[in-house]
């Protein structure tokens, strides 16, 4: 596709439920990133994939958060037992090689936990 695609664009869920957020990166981009952006804040790093493997997951806040990228393309961010504090915009970005190459962001998924 022309850019990074994220689905759904909006997700409302009840506290305690499980959610999956999908990211489809730019074709051929080996690096994929997940960020979380709360109101009034800048994007906060969650996890970085290089190919199929998580090269850096130091930003995942706790073990309720998990992400996969099984074929080195599409990635899914999974959140278990959601809490109200998980409400935020979840951004996905890809870059051609990682390192310092520019990030191309998706439009984000707005997650609301009620």
């Amino acid at each position: 596709g022309a850019g990074v695609s994220q689905t759904p664009s909006n997700k409302v869920t009840e506290k305690g439920k499980y959610v999956e957020l999908r990211c489809d990166p730019i074709s051929g981009h080996t690096a994929l990133y997940w960020y979380r952006q709360s109101l009034g804040q800048g994007p906060e790093f969650l996890i970085y994939f290089q190919g199929t493997g998580a090269a850096d997951d130091s930003g995942l806040p706790n073990d309720r958060f998990f992400a996969v990228r099984p074929e080195g393309s599409v990635s899914t961010l999974k959140i278990q037992r959601t809490e109200r504090g998980d409400s935020a915009v979840y951004l996905c970005a890809s870059s051609s090689t990682g390192g310092g190459s520019p990030l191309h962001f998706g439009n984000g998924t707005r997650l609301t936990v009620t």
Partner: protein, 109 residues
């Protein structure tokens, strides 16, 4: 740990006035600095990076290691510059970007 500070949440200027969006960082090594911009109802996108030393849409930014700053400047603001601007840093060989909290630039007539 690296940190990026953008002291102004909102900067309001008149069209044609000079603009300076402040960014300071803390990192002991040699960082790579970026400015990202988000226009209304658009996705976050790269504006410029310090290693390119280029001017994009009339904006420039110089890395000042002595002052640990990477301020974004434009001599004459345009209405279409109104947007949210984020300064970001990559440290060493790490790939993750650390973002500041952003500054909203509002250009009025």
């Amino acid at each position: 740990a690296q940190r990026v500070t953008q002291p102004e949440k909102l900067l309001s200027v008149f069209k044609g006035a000079p603009v300076e969006l402040k960014c300071n960082y803390s990192y002991s090594g040699s960082p790579e600095l970026f400015w990202y911009v988000q226009y209304s109802r658009q996705r976050l996108q790269l504006l410029l990076r310090h290693i390119s030393r280029e001017s994009i849409k009339g904006f420039t930014a110089d890395l000042n290691k002595g002052e640990t700053s990477f301020h974004l400047k434009k001599p004459f603001a345009q209405e279409e510059d109104s947007a949210m601007y984020y300064c970001a840093l990559t440290a060493g060989t790490a790939s993750k970007l650390t973002f500041g909290t952003g500054t909203r630039l509002q250009v009025t007539l």
